[in-house]
Amino acid sequence: MVNYLIKRILMLFPLLLGITLITFTVIHLAPGEPVEMQASMNPKVSAASKARLRELYGLDKPLYVQYGRWISHLAHFDFGRSFAPDNRPVADKIVERIPITLTLNIIALILEFGLAIPIGILAAVHRDTLLDRGISVFVFLGFAVPTFWLALLCMYFFGVKLSWLPISGIHSLGSDKLPFLARYWDMARHLLLPVAIATFGSLAGLSRYMRSTMLEVLSQDYITTARAKGVKERIVIYKHALKNALLPVITLLGFSLPGLIGGSVIFETIFAIPGMGQLFYQGVMGRDYPLVMGILVIGACLTLVGNLLADLCYAFADPRIRHGKA
């Protein structure tokens, strides 16, 4: 087990290096440069000043030199400075966005798992009944409806028509003067719609998955055995079947780890949430290489760590894997 762990951790480094190499090359392949984005079609910028800007950003060097420079900075945990006109350290830009994205995503993730798993079980247990079909329709509706459209409708209804909820942003104006609890209440009200809509949209995948693994487990011989020996149906389902059916969910949970720092651009744009999605989108659109690379590296790390954790948890939870492989 320890050997396995060490092996897996050592594997992460070449993997990460490979990921950065590929992403670095790919974003540089996209046409346009940060200088272009700031200066193209601007009559007041001469070719000479553009060349100067390129030099300033080190874009005049060959790509491998740029990559070498970037990776050596990264080794010192320095993500560099953004190429956007604000020229701020990339780390600062990311750090100021992460809390809100994490908060939103964690709440949504908890809700998603908390709702989708029971829904999936329910659908599996009452397979092919009206309840099962109703659940299917409901979750697929959430999956199919464009979130931006639903978001706009909800904003109009709850925000403009009924004036129950704030429309966008994460704080009301002047909320910084409110007492501690009221400020949290204010923020909770702002997050209610985004979280609810995000969760609604994500129920389908996990609940269907849960339903199918549950059905698979329920058709196994040991379940039949349990039923045959007269175990109560409730215990069959929640004790014998659920345990095994939940195993693959661990993997899914591991996969969701990198997603925690990612945000949906459309979603954040509509709700005016200052999150990672918008930051990344602007980075890509402005060809802000250090920023894009910074976010991708964090994402890559989380993906790798997430996979590792999932595998470890899996091995921990499932003796078959633990003894079989390691």
């Binding site: 996209a30 046409p31 346009g32 272009e36 984005m37 700031q38 200066a39 193209s40 079609m41 601007n42 009559p43 007041k44 910028v45 001469s46 070719a47 000043s49 553009k50 100067r52 800007l53 300033l56 956007a84 006109p85 604000d86 020229n87 701020r88 830009k93 100021e96 966005r97 706009l152 904003m155 109009y156 925000g159 403009v160 004036s163 704030p166 429309i167 966008s168 942003g169 994460i170 704080h171 104006l173 002047g174 954040e268 744009t269 509509i270 709700f271 005016a272 200052p274 918008q278 602007q282 659109m285 060809r287």
Partner: protein, 539 residues
């Protein structure tokens, strides 16, 4: 979304501005007698994009410009009628040979941190702009300066190598505080996120991607602004912004034509908001690649213009919220020639011109010349719905005279790099935002056709070249006007672009805000005089 902002090209004109035929239109319902001007209340305004940096020489986006415009001052500015007036300079003299400009600076102006404003600040600003290490987009105009000096704390002199008329407008550039920046790396200065200026509003707070808060400067030399706070909320989606406006979360925003025409004419809305309408400082055009033999024939370009119904485009795309463009200037500005001999919508004439140019109708309904079908592609950038609609309308009109048009929409960076810069396009549908000085040398002079320069359609006309040089080389308004009038005549005849339309700016402001006086330059020029009567103040 945010892209449409990038697409606003001439980023030079920092102020939202615009106007034409005298009095701009205003739809409003004044509720009761307005109380006397009172201090207090907050104006909350919405913006799609977040400012990039609040050091104006480093920024090119409109959000940064809007906020910097309230925090900083330039030496000169344009008044509500587009006339230059003193800002930090009380007056200025141009030497008779047009080479030397002397600015007499205002006494008693203080930076927001209490330091005195002097000519040292102006000299610093000039030096930092021309410093090759400064990543600024604005150095070109200042490179024409031969020498600059500050003989005493309230005089600033610049000498140009040759008379350069756009110089005056260029001194509208925000002046930076020398005492905070001198000897430091401007790109790493904390002022980028915490600016200290001389302007009517003092920077208070910036929460990234949420809001920027400014507070009235009690010591402002023109008097303390009435509105105590100015909050700039960043709301990246325009539908969300509109709902925020309706729910009371915003006091001011720019409406789209659909919102202006179709969604805001309810009694309830009009009792809460005043809508304004005046021409924006921008135009949209269809430009032809003049390196291609097809478009080198002037008659072909004229024919395309005749075949396009500009009025229909304005109705279809802008719901009537705009006017026909005949040339590169905004109607109502001094350089604009009101009556140019432009080509109107006339399909018969289009057909005649094309026939004259040697085209005959092919069997598939598309014109043919020398065995080649008259077919070309209009390219435009992604994210601008109006341009796409415009291209669709043009496509259908040209089809009816026998020209086949394909439309290609592309992401901005690829569009500029792979197509515009390499000359790999046939026709483009784009727009220019207009600066306040009428000098258009960079777009039309034949020397500006290298890759990455702005005369990317390769327009070359010796007469226009001469007039452009003459126009920027004199301070005599009448002489300049003659030059620009003549240029407009030539452009109307040559049709290197088909000038399509000048859209309207459609701002809406909460009805509790008074003191707004629409003028040719729009409504925002006197923001410091806007007020909310005591009885109506909300926060």
């Amino acid at each position: 979304m945010t892209l449409s902002r990038l697409v606003t090209l001439f980023l030079v004109a920092l102020q939202l501005a615009g106007c034409a035929k005298g009095a701009p239109e205003q739809q409003q319902k004044v509720r009761g007698p307005a109380g006397p001007p009172a201090y207090g209340d907050t104006l909350v305004t919405g913006s799609i994009g977040e400012p990039s940096t609040l050091i104006p020489v480093l920024a090119t986006d409109s959000s940064s410009g809007e906020i910097s415009g309230l925090v900083y001052n330039g030496l000169l500015r344009y008044d509500k009628n587009y006339q230059l007036e003193g800002d930090l300079a009380t007056s200025w003299d141009v030497s008779p040979d047009g080479l030397k400009i002397t600015f007499h600076l205002r006494h008693g102006v203080k930076w927001h941190d209490g330091h005195d404003f002097t000519s040292r600040d102006v000299l610093y600003t000039y030096r930092v702009i021309i410093d090759p290490k400064t990543p600024t987009a604005y150095s070109e105009d200042f490179k024409q300066v031969q020498s600059a000096r500050a003989p005493d704390p309230y005089t600033f002199e610049v000498v140009y190598a040759k008379p350069f008329a756009p110089a005056l407008a260029s001194w509208g550039m925000s002046i930076l505080p020398a005492h905070l920046l001198e000897g430091k790396d401007i790109t790493k200065s904390p002022l980028a996120r915490n600016p200290i200026g001389t302007g009517p509003y003092v920077f208070k707070q910036w929460i990234p991607l949420q809001k920027v808060v400014l507070e009235a400067n009690p010591d402002y030399w023109e008097g303390k602004p009435y509105l105590s706070r100015y909050v700039y909320r960043i709301i990246p989606d325009s539908s969300t912004m509109y709902m925020e406006l309706k729910a009371g979360g915003l006091d001011e925003m720019n409406l789209s034509p659909v919102q202006y025409q179709r969604q805001t004419n309810t009694r309830e809305f009009l009792s809460r908001f005043n809508k304004y309408r005046y021409p924006a400082s921008a135009y949209t055009y269809l430009g032809y690649n003049l390196r291609l033999p097809l478009f080198q024939d002037r008659r072909v370009r004229q024919a395309i213009t005749c075949a396009i119904n500009k009025e229909e485009i304005i109705q279809g795309v802008l719901l009537g919220m705009g006017q026909i463009a005949h040339g590169p200037y905004k109607p109502g500005t001094w350089a604009y020639k009101p009556k140019v001999d432009d080509f109107g919508y006339d399909p018969a004439r289009a057909a005649a011109l094309l026939k004259e140019a040697g085209f005959t109708m092919g069997s598939d309904g598309v014109l043919v010349k020398d065995g080649k079908r008259f077919s070309f592609t209009i390219m435009t950038n992604q994210g601008n719905d109006q341009r796409l609609k415009c291209a669709l309308i043009i496509q259908q009109r040209l089809r009816s005279v026998g020209i086949e048009v394909k439309i290609r929409v592309m992401e901005w960076a690829s569009f500029i790099n792979n197509f515009i810069d390499k000359g790999q396009f046939e026709a483009v549908l784009l727009g220019w935002t207009l600066g306040q000085d009428p000098d258009i040398y960079d777009i039309w002079h034949s020397s500006k056709t290298a890759p990455k320069e702005l005369n990317f359609i390769h327009f070359k006309d010796p007469e226009v070249d001469r007039l452009l040089v003459e126009g920027r080389g004199t301070f005599d308004m009448e002489q300049r006007k003659k030059c620009y009038y003549a240029i407009q005549d030539i452009l109307a005849r040559e049709q290197p672009y088909t000038f399509l339309y000048v859209p309207d700016a459609l701002p809406v402001v909460s009805a509790r805000v008074r003191g707004i006086e629409p003028a040719p330059a729009g409504i925002f020029y006197n923001l410091i005089k806007w007020y909310v009567p005591k009885a109506e103040q909300v926060n």
